[in-house]
């Protein structure tokens, strides 16, 4: 096992409790929604990380899951559909000291915003991307999602879906992500652990959470089913440093529910932020005072 990496700032001496990260805003979710577990797992992870809430920026798009930032005490930004990743990257690049979390759903992350994922991964900006994957559009009341199974009947696929679902784990592995994990609120300890580890991981971290929709979800995708079906990667002896094996296991998305760290790059590559900081240090001496910037337009022959 790799040791946990320090976050951008040294750990605060202040002790935090999960409650310090929970706001008093009442969630709009249906009773029994998987997302309740996710917000709890996130606050537990943040308490262990011990960065004060004002140093955390929590970004989301649109969807049931995207309400999450408002249920925490962090600085939240509930943006527009599909664009949480670009906005989060702007925040992190503008202030690398911040701890930046992104919450998304399968529609937000793999359909309308799907194009951004590859670029967030390849830039390796140090943010943690948590997708609540429930294979359905809940907020708009039960339409087909990009992770819905072929044949699935919904209000927009009355005769069954004619499309194959995307495989988020395989996609992200393919893009070259350095930290890929999956969890479920059926295992709260495990979920909080992979989130904490993802935040501590130096670079882009992807966490797919199988977070069931109690209202429009399938029977075999509910937490009760998860409890019987889930299989921890640790228990099957998977080494998270083994990229080839991780990719093989990722192919079983949709048929098997693996939990834990699927892949953790044993030699994390340089993050975008590290490159930026080096460049700032190297170039700052070349800066002319801002009011002299026009001098470069003096013609010379």
């Amino acid at each position: 096992m790799t040791t946990l990496e320090p976050v951008a700032k040294p750990l605060s001496l202040t002790k935090f409790m999960p409650g310090d990260f929970k706001s008093d805003l009442k969630p709009i979710w249906c009773p029994g929604c998987g997302d309740f577990g996710v917000v709890t797992a996130i606050t537990r992870a943040l308490a262990n990380i011990a960065r004060p809430p004002h140093e955390i920026a929590f970004v989301s798009g649109i969807g049931c899951s995207s309400r999450i930032p408002g249920y925490t005490t962090a600085y939240g930004f509930n943006t527009v559909h599909g664009r949480s990743l670009p906005i989060a990257q702007g925040i992190k690049l503008a202030n690398p000291e911040l701890l930046v979390l992104v919450a998304s759903g399968d529609g937000d992350g793999f359909s309308i915003g799907g194009g951004h994922v590859a670029h967030a991964v390849r830039r390796n900006i140090d943010i943690t991307y948590i997708v609540m994957d429930n294979q359905i559009y809940g907020l708009t009341k039960g339409q087909l999602s990009p992770t819905s199974q072929r044949g699935r009947k919904t209000v927009t696929s009355n005769f069954g879906s004619l499309e194959d679902p995307v495989n988020p784990l395989l996609y992200v592995m393919g893009y070259g992500a350095s930290y890929v994990a999956q969890g479920t609120p059926a295992d709260m300890t495990g979920l909080a652990k992979i989130i904490e580890e993802g935040i501590r991981f130096p670079g882009f971290a992807f966490i797919n959470v199988q977070s069931p929709c109690v209202t429009y979800g399938m029977e075999d995708q509910q937490l009760k089913a998860h409890k019987t079906n889930m299989q921890s990667l640790e228990s099957i002896g998977h080494d998270p440093a083994d990229r080839a094996r991780a990719t093989e296991l990722a192919r079983e998305y949709g048929t098997k529910l693996y939990t834990g760290v699927l892949y953790r790059n044993p030699n994390p590559p340089q993050t975008y932020g590290q490159g930026v900081t080096e460049r700032w240090d190297a170039l700052k001496k070349q800066a002319v005072p801002r009011h002299e910037i026009l001098n470069r337009f003096k013609p010379s022959n």
Partner: protein, 596 residues
């Protein structure tokens, strides 16, 4: 002697047309002339036809203007592809490459027979003196320096510097090529002396740059530390300039995966407390619209530069048009207001960009700068800018007491609420695209939505009284009034100068602030006006229509509007002003609302 000289040079990609223009304008700028240079290309990535137009004058140059005083053709096929961009008249002095095999009295120009024509063996002279036909541009520079008295010394110094690295042989070869050009003009003098008179402000040091670089430099000056964007013609040079510079100031440029991500990152950086900017052109602007709406609702400052080109859709990417004003003013769903500013020249875009950052920060809003391809890509001499005259405004952060039970969207008298950012203890709040109450909590209350709309609109009220964002020139009580904006304002200004010289009673209003419409400014301007003319480079005359939506204009205020890539000339505007004088005298009605 000449006071104002317009030179057009055209050839194919490898002919050095642009570099001939560049050395000429640099030399002229160093000698204290006022100059504008526009470049035009075919759509090919490399090769294809290339042209530049230079206007050099002893007085400030307001626009590139129309017919050429001097035409230089390296080959006639390429020259003719530029059509109305390089208009040749009978009075135009024509210089062309002898090896085209065209006889001086048989120029392939339709319906025009220039009186003064020189067939010059440009390529042969380059090969003979510099040992390479790559020196064609140097020969051309020598010809123009000789006949028109521009920058002989500066150009020689430029040649020595430019080729220094290539060794003495190359330097001397190019100097000989330049001299050969001069010698040709000495042997073939013009009958009438057309040398440019000495500059009025001799050797006054001027700046020389284009609108995109000037815009980017202004952003640095204003304190911008984040740029997110996606390459798109004709705005890309803004990103390129900032990418070279911004790191030195602790800033970052993100070349995003698409236009949406570009402005998304900018909204994120602004939320994180930084001054942030994006730049794009038409199609990119369409893609950015949703996030502009987000920035309006979340009240986050940002500057979005739209370098307008011909549209809709891909339209004409390398040609200027002023047809994105409706989009800038109206494109967001919901009730939304954001300031739209327009620069009129390379010099002007400095102040306009700084103003855009100031308005964005002060009002916590996206601000759109509507530049256009001509301003963006034309090189212009700029008188030195005293930067100490510009105030820099930063967003208002909450004070200590305001951070106790902090309300991010507090309903204040001004409508402006102190804004925190991540990292600020006690300022934690939820920013959102969803409607919110004063604390930032999501709401579906109609009452709160109405009050928040009122706040977001009323906060801009003082903006409409910013008379400094408008200029009125000419006779203040004139019965004839023109309105023009963006690069076309330079055409209107020249028309005004010509009209006043003829004794016509005319005035001109040039708005920097296009939207929201400052009703009283227009009402005051049109109080004395019996006949009015909006002059715009768009089919619809978009400013004319927007002002009509907001202000009761006199019936006889019309528009003269042309689609992009159809130059509007000062002489055409002057002609219409004369007609308006006659119409007032005769009481005649002007026929159409918009004349194309």
């Amino acid at each position: 002697m000449s006071e104002d000289l317009i030179i057009g040079i055209a050839g194919s990609g490898g002919d050095g047309v642009i570099s001939a223009g560049e050395s000429l304008i640099t030399a002229a700028a160093l000698e204290g002339y006022h100059c504008v240079m526009t470049k035009s290309f075919g759509s090919q990535i490399r090769g294809g036809e290339a042209s530049c137009r230079l206007r050099l004058a002893t007085q400030p140059v307001l626009n590139p203007n129309g017919p050429l005083d001097v035409a230089v053709a390296l080959n006639w096929d390429d020259f003719r592809r530029f059509g109305a961009e390089l208009p040749v008249e009978a009075a135009t002095i024509v210089i062309y490459e002898s090896n085209t095999g065209v006889a001086p009295d048989k120029l392939p120009l339709q319906g025009v027979k220039p009186a003064v024509v020189f067939s010059v063996p440009i390529t042969a002279m380059a090969a003979e003196h510099a040992g390479t036909d790559k020196a064609k541009n140097i020969v051309i520079a020598g010809l123009l320096a000789g006949w028109f008295g521009i920058g002989r010394e500066s150009m020689l110094a430029g040649i020595r510097k430019k080729f220094a690295k290539k060794g003495a042989t190359v330097v001397e070869g190019n100097v000989r090529a330049f001299q050969a050009g001069l010698d040709f003009t000495a042997a073939n003098p013009l009958k009438e002396d057309r040398k440019l008179s000495a500059p009025q402000s001799a050797r006054e040091p001027k700046l020389l740059t284009d609108g995109n670089d000037m815009c980017a430099a202004a952003a640095i000056f204003a304190g911008c530390t984040f740029f997110g964007g996606y390459p798109i013609t004709p705005s890309t040079e803004i990103m390129q300039f900032l990418e070279r510079e911004i790191w030195k100031y602790g800033g970052t440029v993100l070349q995003a995966e698409d236009e949406i991500a570009g402005i998304g990152a900018v909204v994120g950086a602004s939320f994180a407390g930084k001054k942030a900017m994006t730049a794009t052109s038409g199609p990119g602007m369409s893609l950015k619209t949703e996030i502009l709406g987000l920035a309006s609702l979340a009240e986050l400052p940002l500057v979005c530069v739209n370098v307008q080109r011909g549209g809709p859709s891909t339209g004409m990417p390398t040609k200027a048009e002023q047809s994105d004003l409706f989009q800038a003013a109206f494109s967001a769903h919901g009730d939304c207001l954001r300031p739209v500013l327009a620069p009129t020249s390379v010099a002007d875009i400095f102040g306009v960009t700084v103003e855009a950052f100031n308005l964005a920060e002060h009002y916590q809003t996206p601000v759109i700068v509507l530049s256009d391809q001509e301003i963006a890509q034309r090189k212009e001499t700029v008188d030195p800018i005293d930067t100490s005259k510009f105030q820099i405004i930063d967003r208002r952060h909450p004070s200590g007491p305001e951070l106790t039970n902090y309300s991010r969207f507090k309903l204040t008298e001004s409508g402006i609420s102190p804004i925190s950012h991540p990292g600020m203890p006690g300022g934690n709040y939820l920013a959102a695209g969803i409607e919110h109450n004063e604390q930032g909590r999501p709401t579906a209350s109609g009452e709160i939505h109405a009050r928040m709309n009122e706040k977001r609109f009323n906060k801009f009220n003082p903006l409409k009284n910013r008379r400094d964002l408008f200029t009125v020139e000419g006779d203040p009580e004139a019965p004839i009034g023109m309105v023009s904006w963006g690069s076309v304002a330079g055409v209107a200004r020249e028309a005004l100068r010509l009209a006043l010289a003829e004794g016509l009673q005319v005035k001109l209003l040039v708005p920097t602030l296009l939207y929201p419409v400052a009703e009283t400014v227009y009402q005051d301007f049109f109080a004395s006006v019996q006949r009015g003319l909006f002059i715009e480079q768009s089919y619809q005359a978009q400013l004319y229509r927007i002002v009509r939506m907001n202000v009761d204009l006199p019936v006889q205020v019309k528009a003269f509007a042309k689609s992009g890539s159809n130059p509007i000339l000062p002489s055409e505007v002057l002609e219409r002003l004369r007609e308006m004088v006659m119409a007032i005298q005769s009481g005649q009605q002007q026929p159409e609302a918009i004349e194309h």
